[in-house]
């Protein structure tokens, strides 16, 4: 026992000394008083972290008077970290956030608008693809993205062959998708999926697929101009679209969210014939050990309206950043959103350029992997969320009620719309 204690004490003293030393190290580096230091926060996306480090090195070489410190945090605690730090007055100067959080962060007074002198509203809307426009809040833009993402349909060519389908002709319409998926779906005797034709989950891209693609294709504009009203069930077509979406699972039985952890994992495991996923999934799917292809999202009938959903991670300057730090932050942002950076970003990370000019670049549009995503961007819509987590949860719960408890479609649909409307009312009443 004594020996153990002696050992532990030695270790303890050793580690405290070590801690003291390394603590000293980090303080030693902060003495450059002529340099303006700004901090940039992002969540941990390994390739993005590497890319940002590279960009910072280039930027610092051009701007020797500015030092940019980039820090990253695990995704599941990223919002909490921001929350805790801002509450303690300890937040960063620039935050990389999801577009769905913008309204919440503006509401919480965490971020400041982009100054007119830095980049005017006209400059912003000229420079960027149109889909960022819903996020003009009270006549101000708060964030500038580097890249955007849209959806496309991935299909497993091997599974197509096995099911006797042509592996080179993916579905063009939703009806075709259902037909192909049925051919690929295999069930056990007791009604469990061995393989699913179409992997989906309302919690993943499913809800976006519905509200920005199916609804629009049925002729329903999902939200009012100012985003304050939810219009999904304004017309009978809304109910029809919802029924069509739910019937895929409930009637046609072409797939279920429970197959293989997530639909992307199911697809990778060769358990799902098709999935709808974002361009950021390419990195993962490249590792698949089967032949696959990617194409634009289906339409209702050939020649019908094409639609897509877009989202983006974007950069905001924190509230309270001013003077030299504000100037430095703006300089860094300007550097970050350059077209050259956007090109590299696509190559290394797989997120699409956010600038209008680049999207129209023919070379990019013909890329076999990214082409369908870039094409999708032309007609993509970004949903203006007032509270992304809550709105998403409402849809998930509604879908689960149907899936798991056989709830009535129309009633559930009305209930979803009512609840989302309440969330929006709460937000807009405060404004």
């Amino acid at each position: 026992m004594k020996k153990t204690f002696a050992l532990i004490f030695t270790l303890l003293i050793g580690s405290v000394l070590l801690a003291a030393c390394s603590g000293g190290d980090s303080k030693g580096g902060e003495k450059d008083s002529d340099k303006t230091e700004i901090t940039y926060w992002q969540y941990t996306f390994p390739t993005k972290v590497e890319e940002i480090d590279k960009i910072i090195a280039d930027f610092e070489a051009e701007n020797p008077d500015i030092k940019v410190v980039a820090q990253d945090f695990p995704y599941d605690q990223y919002q909490n970290k921001i929350f805790a730090a801002v509450e303690a007055g300890d937040g960063p100067d620039i935050l990389n956030i999801y577009n769905g959080w913008i309204s919440k962060f503006v509401d919480m007074d965490y971020i400041q608008p982009i100054r007119e002198e830095f980049m005017s509203k006209d400059e912003i809307s000229d420079y960027y693809v149109d889909m960022i426009q819903p996020y003009e809040l009270d006549g101000e833009y708060y964030t500038l993205p580097v890249a955007v993402r849209s959806l496309a349909l991935f299909w497993n060519k091997d599974m197509y062959k096995e099911a006797g389908l042509d592996p080179e002709s993916p579905p063009k319409t939703w009806d075709e998708l259902i037909e192909n998926a049925k051919a690929m779906t295999e069930m056990t005797d007791d009604g469990r999926y061995k393989k699913e034709g179409f992997g989906w989950n309302a919690a993943g891209q499913g809800l976006h697929e519905f509200q920005q693609v199916l609804l629009r294709q049925y002729g329903v504009e999902p939200y009012s101009e100012d985003a304050s009203k939810v219009l999904w069930n304004e017309k009978q077509e809304g109910y029809d679209a919802f029924k069509y979406w739910m019937d895929m699972t409930m009637v046609h039985k072409i797939g279920d969210p429970d197959v293989g952890n997530t639909y992307r994992e199911a697809f990778l495991a060769g358990l799902a014939g098709m999935i709808v996923d974002g361009s950021f999934a390419v990195g993962d799917i490249q590792n698949a050990n089967f032949d696959w292809g990617v194409t634009t999202l289906p339409v209702l009938e050939e020649g019908g309206l094409q639609s897509n959903y877009a989202s983006y991670w974007t950069n905001a300057i924190a509230k309270g950043v001013e003077g030299k730090k504000l100037e430095a932050s703006e300089k860094f942002l300007a550097y970050l959103i350059q077209e050259d950076v956007q090109r590299d970003w696509l190559e290394n990370i797989g997120e699409l350029p956010a600038s209008k000019a680049l999207i129209e670049d023919a070379e990019l549009a013909n890329d076999p992997t990214y082409g369908p995503f870039i094409e999708g961007l032309e007609y993509a819509h970004a949903t203006f969320f007032v509270n992304e987590d809550k709105e998403r949860q409402i849809i998930i719960d509604g879908v689960d009620k149907i899936r798991l408890e056989n709830a009535d479609y129309d009633e559930t649909f009305d209930d979803i719309v009512k609840k989302i409307q309440e969330v929006r009312d709460e937000f807009f009443d405060k404004q």
Partner: protein, 306 residues
Amino acid sequence: MATNKETIEKKTLSLQTKKALIAYSFLIIPVLFYLAIRIIPAFQAFLMSFTTSSSSAFTLENYQKLVQDEVFWKSVKNTMLYVVIVVPLQMLFGLLLALAIERMGGKFKWFYRVVFFLPYMTSIVAISWVWRLLYDPNSGVLNEILVKLHLPTQEWLGSPSTALISISIVIIWQMMGFCMLLFTAGLQVIPKQYYEAANIDGATKWQLFWNITFPLLNPTIVFLAIIGVIQTLQTFTQIANLTGGSSGGGLGGPLNSTMSVVVYMYNEGFREYNLHYAAASTVFLFILILIVTLIQFRTFNKSYKL
């Protein structure tokens, strides 16, 4: 005579005071530490629950909202269910394991102990991925076994009626090693000669257990019951890892069927950024735990000397 007695009393009195002073001196640093790290922040949270983010005036708004929220009551009900399912079973399995390994003897005791303690040591992120795969209703190993045994397959984490049980199984799987460890420690403190004496009297194994082992394990049992309840009433990590994250959606699904009070609090505080409201649910949980713990102390005090 009388003066003699008085001096003795004085002496014991001063000894008592001296001992009390020693006790206080031992306790002063820890108590200050607790005040700073736990009690003051908790008190702040308590005060916060009576205000809102927009005004610091006293209000019961948060509590009114809380009692009206169905999801909150569901989380309270779920939390109670977790306690009722998890605590007795993890203690029972822990005790059986400790006794079995003790009984078995031999050189490989350490091996058994390590294996049954492994789940408690393993990172929950990695292991919950494996559990989700085992639970997969379509191709998971568990359902395959059920099919082989000609039993009906289950939806496991996928259905509101079985999700809570499925999570409880993972918690028990993790915690029974912990209980085993403490029971093992508890068994060591029981003096051997009690058994020797009873053996001479010709007691059966069963009698030995009920008359010696069980009563003398009492401090450990009380400890595990109270700690188990306090921990289980605050269940969070396993729920967060088995229901949220890469399976998409919020924590505590499907249809809030696995939501505990702490998950509810976490969602409100850190997803909705409404700390005042989250504080109100914490106060509720605190009172709940306090009541349950006091009842437990009462019961244990009645049957045994604590």
